[in-house]
Symmetry: C2
Subunit: 264 residues, 2 copies
DNA sequence: GGGACGTTACACTGGCTAGTGTAAGGACGC
DNA sequence: GCGTCCTTACACTAGCCAGTGTAACGTCCC
């Protein structure tokens, strides 16, 4: 896992990655590739097999860890011969990296849906934020398979090629944090919140709710009582609102801060 | 790592663990053991060898991960024959668990010293908190070896015997969080802070400073610019003070909260 | 029919690993 | 000097695993 990897082209999903990383050469849809005519990413093998392998790999890596998962296990889980796996992926490592990139995008999308459901229309700010944060913070328990992968990534971070790690963060956690910042900005526009920097506010919300639960549950590895989650989330939202709710007497959407608000 | 382990007696440092877990049977100093006369924990082998093994194990596990570290590597690093390791520890697993319990206690102690240095005498609240949090949040980079272990623990959490995991949390992170809560209480007594629950306040401080940095750096796996750390820490302390600093006009050490302060 | 391609079962290599067995030597106490 | 304990070097078992080679089979398209 430690070898230098200069490009991400080896891994799937390059189209979803920042174009800087893909060098604009390989593009899933694109005609504008700067090379000859390579309109479509070419994969060997049948797509359904590839999908089965990816799904199985995610599950087995999640349960067993990177080193604990053998390619034979993954093959069995996928209902596919081991040889076929090596027909689709060059390496166990490449399979792993490819899988984590897929997973992060997928989960970020799921989280975005959760945010959509709770934050698109704000009726009662605190209530809606709590409902959102509850579902969000419960997702590690719900998507146990994915977050087992997240834990592996965290522990292997030093051994994962930096470009891949960067791409993973950018399609996954950071993508969603941007989305969250967007929602918070909307609320600020309506005068429901006050802050200078939406990204900082989103980070604080993340820390005070999601991370506070994730921290305690080891990102879903340990089961928490629902009451504990609720307590943490409610406390976190209250703290967040204490930080960013407009002063009772202040004009709505005040341009600056009278008290020393959290700033970057 | 998944086998049921009913007692912690197999592992070192039982004397430092909560007595519930040691069943009061084995006690480093104790004469009051409920069994015959087992006044001293009996270790086979010479203590200096044991220490060399433990130190080497910590280093190698940290660099290579649990599965990546072979017992031969550890033996070589310790300057000891492999046979000697198996003379001191029954298992690779027992060696690992023993090592993480030692490490957590040691780091909690180091963190306590950092807190002592910065928080025993408060001159300027914000300044002192920032100085403390900076050093604290930088420790994952400083004690790379230990926090590599922490990352492994987090990723293996589901496979570590719950009793050991509990003991690890209790001698490590939680022990220090209690210490931090104690310091915050002192500040509250002096009217510098206002809160209902010191433990919640300590958790929020932890989240807003230490975790915020740890999150971004993958617990020390990724190097961060010092300016980034500083920025995160200062923002975190500002947010914390915004949450828990007494209202400008309020009487010092007010018993209750007028605004909706963060509560449990 | 025939070629190209993907898949499969299976055997196999080479390498690494946890853990053991053993005989020999060193240190220490008596 | 003698016994006990600890350590060491080394060989060894038994097993797992990544990755390859190969021959056979099916399918789809021409």
């Amino acid at each position: 896992m430690g070898e230098a990897v200069s490009a991400l082209e080896k891994y799937d999903l390059t189209a979803r990655l920042p174009s800087v990383l893909t060098h604009g050469v390989i593009c899933r849809e694109g005609r504008m590739a700067s090379q000859d005519s390579v309109p479509q990413r070419v994969y060997r093998g049948q797509p359904d097999k590839r999908r089965a392998i990816a799904r199985a790999a995610r599950a087995v890596f999640g349960q067993q860890g990177y080193t604990g998962a053998s390619v034979d296990m993954i093959a069995a889980e996928a209902g596919v011969s081991k040889r076929t796996i090596y027909n689709h992926y060059t390496d166990k490592e490449q399979l792993f990296l490819s899988v984590i990139l897929e997973g992060s995008a997928e989960v970020a999308e799921t989280h975005t849906q959760i945010a959509d459901r709770h934050l698109r229309k704000i009726l009662d700010l605190e209530e809606d934020l709590v409902a959102f944060a509850l579902e969000w913070a419960s997702s590690p328990a719900a998507f146990a398979g994915h977050f087992a992968l997240v834990r592996i990534i965290q522990s292997e971070a030093a051994r994962i090629p930096p470009a891949v790690l960067e791409a993973w963060q950018d399609t996954g956690p950071r993508a969603f944090q941007r989305e969250l910042a967007r929602y918070l900005s909307q609320m600020a526009d309506r005068g429901l919140l006050v802050f200078e920097d939406a990204d900082t506010a989103a980070m604080h919300f993340n820390l005070l709710t999601f991370v506070s639960v994730a921290q305690r549950s080891f990102y879903g590895a340990i089961m928490l009582h629902e009451s504990d989650i609720t307590e943490l989330v409610i406390g976190g939202v209250k703290a967040f609102l204490c930080l960013y709710r407009p002063e009772p007497g202040a004009r709505s959407a005040s341009p600056s801060t009278s008290r020393g608000r959290a700033s970057r």
